[in-house]
Amino acid sequence: MSEQTPNYPNDYDPLQAFIALFKDVQSAADVARDDTPKTLEERLRHHIIDGDKEGLTASLDAALEQYSPLQVINDHLLDGMKTVGELFGSGQMQLPFVLQSAEVMKAAVAYLEPKMERKEGQTKGSIVLATVKGDVHDIGKNLVDIILSNNGYTVHNIGIKQTLPQILEAWKSTNAQAIGLSGLLVKSVNVMEENLREMNEQGIDIPVILGGAALTRHYAEGHLRSTYKGKLYYGRDAFEGLRTMDHLVGGRLATLDTEIEGRLTKRSDAQEVIARSRVEKADAGATALTSAPAMKRPADVDPPTPPFWGSRIVELIDLDTVYPFVNEVALFRGQWQFKKGSMSEAGYERAVTEKARPVFERLKRDCKTQGILQPKVAYGYWPCQADGDDLVIYDAKDQAREIERFRFPRQQGKQRKCITDFFRTVESGVRDVLGLTAVTVGEKASDAAQKLFEANNYTEYLYLHGFGVETAEALAEMWHKRMRAELGFAGADAPSIRDLFRQGYRGSRYSPGYPACPDMADHAIIWRLLQPERIGATLTENWQIVPEQSTCAFVVHHPDAKYFNV
């Protein structure tokens, strides 16, 4: 310590000493340690990582004095995108910021492109991307487009509802090195499988990358991979797709194959362990897991009286009354991909408050003032009775006349539940009541989102798209509440809207395509009853609702009716 003690003169005056220390310091900004990147190379990387367009062209101009445009892109900008991918993968960076980075990347490439000499090999590789037949969901696929094209790939994004002949046509005409298929619906997984079999028939073995919300890694790598004769990979997100493409063009697919084999082996080991333990349990006299308990119908309840029979439409709903029903968790985490990752609870809350919530507030305002969202509802009540697994629907006026029939599937094993069980039977002689709703926020939302995508405004595209979808869900939630009030049991509602998202109310709202009633064909019957065309909602041949920002449901009043899987 003592050698550190300064030697103070007897006339030491800290004021003079202090002033002297700052003799050469000119600006207050120079006092604190500087975190800004020093070198040109770092600056280029940081433009991308921070999604910072300010001063981008100046940095690029400076870089062009030392490097060729291609070097700037490949060695520095893409290096930044790589860091972005790593940060995203480890949960340290949220999707909206990834998209901001992609926008900067795109702007940089657009700036550099005219300065490049046109020659072969400027693209790292190419791929055809499509959402499969009958599926209108394209946000995931478009994210893959953004990330791949900003990482030097040529992407032929041919859009939604693409049949196999259309996809193969695109592949043949572009000579792409891979095909990427995407879909959100459970049904889309079947379509993918059909497509793969058809490609086998035609002797096509182009590498395929599959993605989308309905697909699981296990199904893709375990089942579909062995179905298809060519190479097949699962893309959990855009960055996994990028990694697959990098391996594909680099001739390193074997590395990926080894990884997949490793995963499958581990998985089957685990399955074996579970199977063994089940056998042991059964041997020890424990309840056999496979034998289903006897089917038990829920107790009968007196059907409530609806305020009217048949359908009504409601328009001119004030968006401000719908917004409080937006599930923020689904919007921020699900749609907007603000993932908690390694953040603390408080850190995540802060990130949401600072980043997501202001966007949410702005969208609420803009969508209202600019009329982008136009909430409309078709709903109604029909007399009905259970007949086996069928739910018989009677005419609203002539309540003896059967007009439609829903057949709901029954759980295999478990408790053998079926939606029909929540209604009084034909034998009881009591007429029960089924509620139906179809809600939409209108087609303007889809159009506006598409415009943003075409204008390369990816962040806003993600925000608006997700917001539209969740507002439609909110409208469904709100109208369900209204119907409970009309049926006279809103008093059982949980006090806060948050709890409604966890079914904090009597009864349930089941949408076709979800686990309790997976058959999308039910949409067709609902459409005949409710006629939601009157509010601008129609069905595709695959029973998808157009516009996408719409949803419909069965409203079941029975207190025991809650979500379950068949």
Partner: protein
């Protein structure tokens, strides 16, 4: 003991208020020309033309079991009636409304079940925070209504359906003024406030329940509650918050659910029984003491609620609330900000000050109000929790400038404001435009008790916090330079503000005065030390009181770079001594860890006056040249 029979009843049992008035009126066949005197939708006017109809509605509710009815005076204030050219009739209509309700109550009152007249005072049609009216006009409008209600025999004044917290403040002041004129007090005729929280979770003007409750908590109101906008289910979270944190009675009279326009008609879906089920929870779980109904509720709803109250009262099932008062705080229009910040101090942005910032002065001269808003927002981005606003500038109209600036900042900036002026009129102009709970900067004894008292009264009137500088009448050295003087003046000020004016200690911010140590004059060398010492003594003696200071003054005259270092180092030492807040330029404070070691060491020598003792300093540092925070303070 309160002199109000209503207050005594509310303390003893759960009371039932009536239901919707409008629906009942519209259900009757009334003539627009005769009954409404041509003023369509002006239901208040029926008090003079059809007292029979109004009394009948009151009696219907009383027969259903209501303990209290609201006078038919929701819009009977001058601002609303002026729209029908009836402003001059305000007093008469309000007085009649109370007389009619009084007559109905007197018919149904028994010694077991006295009935009460609640003087209804609605929000009117103009939002004061949005500048659609001003304080004086609104005050005058409400005072006239209150006079009528008091003279007509109302038991309470119920300021209801409040959408704007500045409106509540103005209405409370008007009611208190009217009571005072009539030689009455809020003890005899209690004031009650009922907020309206929209489905968005805030009032129409954007205040959270926390912000609204904080902004009006210092006023002498008997109860705070919610009514209108939504059904009871949507109110549950807010009622729960009030139940837990509001230190007086909680009331609740919701709509019959969320209205919807179905095939052209407004319908309220919530039926009497389901509504009563939820209200039963409010009474028994959250201790709500008065329940009733607003839009869409009918006599059947009230009959059901009467059963709920009867049940609760019979079994004495009333919930005993455990109240945790919220931490002392200020609030903007939107959100509260605690006086004590975790792991930080309360940072009060100093730049919106005409004598402290050249840029602000120029914007003020140019009347570039948007520029001023940008400047304010920048300070928030830099980390300010509160913003100081000082428009004092010779030759300009301070009150006008303050009005212009504050009316914009309160809407466009989400932090509370500190209105700062030497002029009482300028301070008051700012306070009349601020919906939230402000901090007044400042009071002192330089001109004796009189001016000090006047500013304390401002804090009372606008429910604001108050900065008190340690300055007194001393002719030689009014500003306290020594730790002893700082402490003595602080003690005198705290005692006077709390004991004479009833301001709570936690809303007082003592400013023990930062004086420069950068002048080179011997007399200034000990200034920083004296402040550290004074701060410590005040903080120890008055732990609930807040401490603040104008930090930057310590480095007056030095180069900007040197100021950043000295200010930052000094702030660190002050915080260790107990300083809880500072008026600073947040962007110019840097963490100690980012300051160069040598700069930091010399800055601390300067703060603790480590000159050679022969020169009058506190002595050269020995082994450890660097004081370890405040423990190094010189004995």
């Amino acid at each position: 003991m309160s002199t109000s029979a209503f207050a005594r009843a509310l303390a003893q049992r759960t009371l039932v208020l009536d239901g919707g008035m409008g629906t009942q009126i519209f259900a009757r066949d009334l003539s627009i020309d005769v009954d409404y005197c041509g003023c369509e939708n002006c239901t208040d006017i029926l008090c003079t033309t059809r007292p029979d109809v109004i009394q009948d509605i009151h009696e219907t509710y009383l027969r259903c079991g209501a303990d209290a009815v609201e006078t038919n005076s929701f819009g009977a204030n001058k601002l609303v009636l002026a729209e029908f050219d009836r402003a001059a009739d305000t007093y008469e209509i309000a007085k009649r409304s109370a007389e009619i309700a009084r007559a109905a109550c007197d018919i149904h009152s028994t010694s077991d079940k006295p009935r009460f007249v609640m003087g209804s005072m609605g929000p009117g049609t103009k939002l004061i925070t949005l500048g659609q009216t001003n304080w004086d006009a609104m005050f005058d409008s409400y005072r006239e209504e209150a006079r009528g209600l008091i003279d007509g025999g109302a038991d309470t004044l119920l300021i209801e359906t409040c959408q704007d917290i500045l409106q509540v403040k103005c209405a409370i002041n008007a009611c208190l003024a009217a009571l005072d004129e009539r030689g009455k007090s809020h003890e005899g005729i209690p004031l009650m406030a009922s907020l309206t929280i929209e489905q968005t979770g805030t009032t129409l003007t954007g205040s959270s329940i926390e912000a609204a409750a904080l902004a009006i908590a210092r006023y002498p109101i008997l109860s705070l509650g919610l009514n209108c906008a939504t059904g009871p289910a949507e109110m549950a979270d807010h009622i729960k918050w009030l139940s837990k944190h509001w230190d007086r009675h909680v009331t609740c009279y919701p709509n019959a659910g969320l209205p919807a326009l179905v095939e052209g008609r407004t319908e309220y879906p919530l039926q009497p029984k389901p509504m009563a089920e939820i209200m039963d929870r409010f009474v028994n779980e959250f201790g709500v003491r008065m329940i009733g109904g607003c839009c869409g509720t009918t006599p059947e709803h009230i009959a059901q609620l009467a059963l709920v109250a009867e049940e609760a009262n019979r079994y004495d099932g009333r919930h005993v609330r455990t109240i945790e008062p919220p931490a002392p705080a200020t609030t903007s229009l939107y959100q509260p900000v605690d006086h004590r910040q975790d792991a930080s101090i309360l940072i009060i942005g100093e730049r919106c000050n005409a004598s402290g910032s050249k840029k602000f002065k120029q914007l003020l001269e140019a009347e570039d109000w948007d520029g001023i808003v940008s400047m304010a927002r920048e300070q928030v981005r830099e980390g300010s929790h509160v913003l100081d606003v000082n428009v004092d500038y010779a030759g300009r109209d301070g009150a006008r400038d303050m009005s212009e600036v504050v009316s914009r900042l309160v809407r466009q900036v989400d932090v509370p404001l500190m209105v700062d002026s030497t002029q009482i009129a300028t301070l008051e102009a700012g306070l009349r435009h601020a919906p939230g709970k402000c901090i007044i900067n400042s009071a002192n004894f330089e001109d004796g008790d009189e001016k000090f008292d006047a500013i304390c009264q401002l804090a009372r009137k606008y429910a604001a916090c108050l900065v008190i500088g340690t300055i007194d009448e001393d002719k030689e050295a009014a500003m306290a330079r020594t730790a002893d003087r700082k402490f003595d003046i602080a003690k005198r000020a705290i005692e006077r503000a709390t004991q004479v004016h009833g301001l709570p200690q936690c809303d007082l911010f003592i400013d023990p005065l930062v004086l420069p140590i950068s002048t080179g004059m011997d007399s200034d060398r000990h200034s920083a030390l004296a402040l550290i010492e004074g701060t410590k003594r005040i903080a120890e003696a008055f732990p609930e009181v807040q401490l603040t200071c104008g930090l930057s003054n310590v480095s007056f005259g030095l180069k900007p770079a040197a100021r950043v270092v000295l200010n930052s180092a000094f702030m660190h030492e002050l915080v260790a001594a107990g300083m809880s807040s500072a008026i600073v330029h947040a962007g110019k404070i840097i963490p100690l860890a980012r300051i160069d070691e040598q700069q930091k060491r010399v800055a601390l020598h300067l703060i603790y006056d480590r000159r050679a003792s022969t020169l009058g300093g506190t002595g050269l540092p020995q082994e450890h040249p660097e004081p370890v925070a405040s423990e190094a303070a010189v004995a």
